[in-house]
Symmetry: D2
Subunit: 354 residues, 4 copies
C-alpha cells in the first residue's frame, strides 16, 4: 500500500531529525523560551520582513487555530470562514468549544471573496437586531484552501482592505503554506502575507517537520497576553525548543520551499496523467492536493494498492477523491501510480460513462 491519502504519513526530513539529534542533551529553558526558538523566530521575522512580528510555535493546526481565535475574540464575536474551512468542518467544533460561532459562507473553490466578506459584515452592521446576532470580528481563510486552491496577491490584498474597512482581523491558516507559495500559479510571498494579515500560520507538520506550526502575529492588539492563552489551551510545549529547532531546519537554505516545490511537481505530474486520460476534477488545484473525479469501479481497483481520501459523491457512479503528494513523496511511487491508473482506466473505459 502506497499512501497518497494525506501529506503527513511519514516522519520528518533528515535535516530536521539531524538537528534534533545534535542538540538532544543540551539543557535549555522550557516553553519556547530557549535560544533555538528565538533563532527560529528571527528567521521568520526576516522572511516576513517584519521585525515587530511576534512568533509563537504550536504542535498542531487545530491548536493553533483555536488559540489564535480564542485570543482575538470577545464572547459575542464570531469568525467568518468559507463553509469548507478547516475550522468549520474538521476540528470537532474546537472554535465553538471556545465559545465562538463560525459564520460559514459558501465558498467558491474553498475561497472567500472580498465582496462576500463585505456583504456578510454589512448584513450585520445594518441589521436593526444587530445586538441579537453574533458580531463578525475575524475572517479566517486557508491558503492553500482545503481543496488545494490558492489566493492571488490581488485577492488577498482586496480581502485585507475589506477587513480593515470593517474593523475585522484577517487570519490566514497556512497549514500547507509551503505548497501554496511554491505553486506555479502563486504570486504571493511571506512579506505580502505579513502586510495583509493580522495573524497567520506557517505549517511545518505537512512539510517536513515531525510537527510544528508557527503563528505569526502582526497586529499589536493580538499580541497582548497571547502566551497565557497558549498555556490555557494546552498549547505550550514543555520542550519548546523542539519546535524552534525544526523551524530552523525548515528555513535553513530554503529547505521549506524546496520541499513544497517537490510535492507540487509530483502533484502536477499526477494531474497531467489524470487529465490526459480525460478525467475531470472537483476543482482546479495547482498545489499538492488533487481531486480527480473517478468512477467507483476505478477507485475500487486503485484502492487495492494506493490509499487516497474520499471527498464527495458526484453522481451515482462517480466520486471525487483526494490524492496528496508531500515533501516525502517518491517520484517512483508517482510513476507507479500513473502506470497502474492508466491500465485500470483503459480496462474500465467501456464501463465508465462520465
Amino acid at each position: 500500500m502506497i499512501r497518497f491519502n494525506c501529506d503527513y504519513a511519514e516522519g520528518a526530513h533528515e535535516n530536521i531529525l539531524k538537528l534534533i539529534m545534535e542538540t538532544n542533551m543540551e539543557q535549555t529553558p522550557g516553553y519556547g523560551e530557549d535560544h533555538y526558538s528565538e533563532q527560529a523566530r528571527e528567521m521568520i521575522r526576516e522572511l516576513c520582513k517584519n521585525q515587530e512580528a511576534e512568533v509563537q510555535f504550536f504542535v498542531g493546526g487545530t491548536q493553533t487555530n483555536l488559540t489564535v481565535i480564542a485570543a482575538a475574540l470577545r464572547a459575542h464575536q464570531c469568525v467568518i470562514a468559507a463553509d469548507s474551512g478547516h475550522i468549520n468542518v474538521h476540528e470537532t467544533g474546537a472554535i465553538e468549544a471556545c465559545g465562538h460561532k463560525v459564520w460559514a459562507i459558501p465558498g467558491a473553490d474553498g475561497k472567500l471573496t472580498a465582496k462576500q466578506i463585505w456583504d456578510a459584515w454589512e448584513s450585520h452592521a445594518v441589521n436593526e437586531s444587530y445586538e441579537h446576532m453574533v458580531q463578525p470580528k475575524m475572517v479566517y481563510i486557508s491558503n492553500p484552501t482545503e481543496v488545494g486552491t490558492i489566493y492571488s496577491k490581488n485577492e488577498l490584498e482586496e480581502i485585507s482592505k475589506t477587513c480593515k474597512e470593517c474593523g475585522m482581523y484577517l487570519f490566514l491558516d497556512g497549514a500547507r503554506l509551503a505548497y501554496g507559495l511554491t505553486s506555479k500559479e502563486n504570486d504571493l510571498d511571506l512579506e505580502t502575507i505579513a502586510q495583509c494579515c493580522d495573524v497567520f500560520s506557517i505549517g511545518g507538520t505537512k512539510t517536513g517537520a515531525l510537527f510544528g506550526e508557527a503563528a505569526v502575529i502582526i497586529n499589536d492588539i493580538l499580541k497582548e497576553d497571547f502566551r497565557y492563552i497558549m498555556k490555557q489551551k494546552g498549547a505550550m510545549l514543555a520542550k519548546g525548543r523542539l519546535l524552534g529547532i525544526q523551524f530552523i531546519g525548515l528555513f535553513k537554505n530554503d529547505l521549506y520551499f524546496q520541499l513544497g516545490d517537490h510535492a507540487n511537481q509530483m502533484a502536477q505530474k499526477l494531474k497531467k496523467a489524470f487529465q490526459k486520460a480525460g478525467c475531470s476534477f472537483l476543482v482546479d488545484s495547482s498545489t499538492n492536493q488533487q481531486f480527480p473525479i473517478l468512477s467507483d469501479q476505478i477507485l475500487k481497483e486503485l484502492g487495492k494498492d494506493y490509499s487516497y481520501c474520499y471527498q464527495e459523491r458526484i453522481d451515482e457512479e462517480h466520486s471525487a477523491v483526494r490524492f496528496c503528494t508531500s515533501w516525502a513523496t517518491k517520484e517512483e511511487d508517482v510513476d507507479q501510480l500513473i502506470e497502474d491508473f492508466e491500465k485500470i482506466w483503459e480496462k474500465c473505459k467501456s464501463a465508465d460513462k462520465r
Copy 2:
C-alpha cells in the same frame, strides 16, 4: 403609531395580572419550589397527558433554549437546526457560548424534514473522519417557525421517528406555540408533541404573560440535574412563583388557546386584505406572523403610522416585512391598518411594478 412589529409590545392579559395582585403578599419558597409553580406543572402535565414530565419555568426564550441544550449535550456534540432557526440567528451565539455548534441546514419555509435530518446524521455517521467533526445529538425545530409556518402531525411524527433511529434528542421550541396550536391548518396537540419530543417549550411571553416559558422534559436522561444547569445559566427566578402563577392564568379555562386563536384571526383578516390587493408573500403562514412583499414606497407610507419588522430585500423595489398580531391586538387597529393599506396600495398602484 400602532405596533405590529412584534407580539410582545404590551404587558399581560388582565387575568394574569389579577392573579399576581391577589397573591402578592403571600410568603412562598423561592426558585420555583412554591405551590403555584407546582400547580402549574400539574396543569401542564394534564394537558400533555404525561404524568412523568418534568416542567421547569424560565423567564425568556433564549434562556430556555441555551439551558436545555447545555443540559443535553456533551462537549463534542452539536444541535441541528434550520438555518432560519432562532438559535442560529437571533440569540447572539448563545449556544456556541455554551460550547456547542449549531449545525444549520437550509430549511424550506423555516422547517426541517425528516429526510434532511437523516441525511445530516448519516453524513456524519459514515464519514471516515467522524471524530474530526462535531457529533449531531439533538435536533431543534420551532413550531410555529420563525416565519410563521407549522409542522403537521405527520411531519412531526416522521421527524421524531428519525431522531429516535439516529439516537438524537428532539427539541421543539414553542415560543409561539399558542399560535401554532390554534392555526386553522393545525392538527397537532400537546399530547402528540409530548409523545414526539424529548423536550419542548410552551411560550407565555408572546401569548399574554408578562414573561414566561415552560420547558417540558419528557426524556428521563434530560431530567437529571436539570435545575443545576438552570441556576448556572442565571435562569432560576428568585420569586419563581411569578412564573407558576402566570401559567396557571394561561391554562385556566383555556385562556392560552383563546388568546392564540384571537391573534390568528386577526392575522388572517390582514392576510386576506393583502391577498385581495394582489400582494404576494414570502411564505404562506397560517399563524400570527404574516410576511407580505411590498414595494418600498408602500412600506414608507405605511411606516408613518404602523410599525412592522423588516425581513429581507426581495428585489430592487420590494421587500418582505413582518406584521405580527398577538393576544392583545385590537380588531379596530387591524381594520384601520387594512383601510390605510388599501388607500396607499391604490395610490401606489401605478408605481408598483411587481
Copy 3:
C-alpha cells in the same frame, strides 16, 4: 409558618404593582429600549451623579454577575472574590461556565481588604510562571456581603485605589444595596460607589420589586458591546419595560431607601432581642441579615413556626443560622418571633451550655 429565611418571599411593593397595572396595555419597543427604561436609567444616573454611566437592567443577580464578568474578561483572566462571595459559592459555577476562574480569597466577615487584593495581584505579577497562571483582572465584592457586613467609605476607596494601581476592574455586587446604604453604620452613597467602581449593581429583587437588578457601568471599556453579551446570556428581557417601570417605582420618592431602612430596623429589633438573651453571632451585621448562634434544641423549637436559613455548624450542639428581614417584613411578625424566641430560650436555658 412565618418566613425569615430570605428576603424574597413576597411579591412586590404596591407602588410597583400599581405602575405595572397602569402601563399594562401601552405598546412599547422591547428589550429595554422603551421610554420607561430610559427614564429609570436617567433617575439612576442622577442618583449616581454620573451622566455618562450606562445602565442596563437584568431580571436576576446571577445573570447580572455572569454577564458583567463575561463582558469584562478575556479568556485567561480571572476575578478575585472573597471565598464567601456569591459568585464563588451560590451560582453553580456560572462564572466558570463562562470560562473564568474565581480566585477565592479567605475573607474576614465576608469582606476583602485592599491589602489582600494587592497581595494577590502582586503574587501573580512577580511570579516567574505568570503565564502559567490565570491573570487577575477584576475584583468582585458584595455590599452588603453575604453575611450582612458592609464596607466603609474608606475601605471602598482603598480598594478602588488598589484596583486602579493594579489595572484591575472593581465590580460591586449590590443585590442587597438598599440594606447597606440605609444601615446605621453606613457612610457610603451611590455617588461614592460610582466614583470607586468600574461597574456595580443595584438590586431590586430583594427590595420591593418583583424582580430586577440594575447594572451601572462606569468604565467606558466595559460599556462596549455590553448588550450583545446580555442577549447571548439570555439576559435581555423581551418586555424590558417591566424592569424600567419597577426601578422608576423604587426610586420615586426614595421608596428604595425607605424599604431598606424598614428592613434594617426590623433586623436590629431582632438582633437586640437575641443579644439581650445573651446569644452570640457569627458576624456582627448592621443590615437585614442576622446570624445568631443557637442551640440545636432552640432551633428545632423555633423551626416549628418560623423558617430561617441554615448557615453552618459551630459545635456539636450549636449552629449559626440566618434570619432575614425585608421590605415586606411586618413588625407584628418580628414581635411574635421575639416573644416566642424568649419563651423557648428560657425553656432551654438549662440545656444550653454556650
Copy 4:
C-alpha cells in the same frame, strides 16, 4: 549554568530517538491509528493488567488534564483537587476555560485524604441549596504531587473507595509517575493504580521522551467518544505514531522505571547533602523534586552556577526552592552541586540564622 530547575531541560533518551530515526520514512495512518500506537497501548494494558483499558496519547500534561476532565463532566459539575494541584495553579485556568470549577481543598503536603474528599462531597450532598452549588463529580490527585510526595497503596485505596461511595470519578495525574513508582517509599504499582482509578495518566515528557503522556481510561463511561474531545481540544497529533513509538521505547526493557530510579537516586544524594548540612525542607520528598529551605544569601550564591525553581518565601531571610533531578541528570553534576553547596553553606554559616 547547570539546570536543576525542572525535569524537562534535555531532549529524549537515546533509545527513543533511535526508534524515531529507524521508523522515520515509514508511511502510517495518522492520529494515533497506527500500529506503533497500538503496540504501545498493548504494552500499557499488560503493565496495568487490564485488557479493557483504553489508552490514548497526548503531547502534554495540560492537554491531557483538560481533555480528560472536559470529557468526564457535565456543565454543572466540578473537580475536587488539592489547592497545590497542577490544574488549580499552573494551567492558566484550563479547566475553567472548559467550563468547570476546580474545587480547591487545602492539601497537606500536596495530598488529599479520603476524609477530606468525603467531607467535601457530603457538604454538598446535605446542603439545602445544593442546586445553587457546583456538583462534585471528579477527584483529581497527582502522584507524585507537585511537591514530590507520594500516595501509599493504602491511601489510594481509601480514596478510591470513597470516590466510589460518592459516585465520583478518580483521576490520577501521573506526569511524574516514574519517579513515584520507583521511590524507595513507594508501594504502588500500575496494576493497583488501574484498579483504583477511573482514569490516570503516565507521563513521558519528564521521563525520557521528547514529549508524551498516556491517558489510561478504565471506566467505560469515560471511554465513550473520548477521541472526539481530544480532537476538539487540539490534542490529536497528526503523526500520532511519534507518541506510540516513544512509549514503546519507554516500556521496552523497563527503561521507564530505570530512568525513574536514576533520578530518585540523584535526588536522594542531594537531599542527604542538604540534610547533612542541617538544612530543613518544605516537605519530605522521596522523589526527584527536593524543596530545601535556604537563606537568600546562599540561594544567590548557588544561583550563579545552578538554576533552581523558586517555590515560596518562608521568612524574611529564607525561601523554599525546588531542585529537580531527572532521567538525564549526570551524577557528576550532582556531585559538583553538592561540593559547591557545602562551600557556600560553610561560608554563610555565620550569617544564616535559621
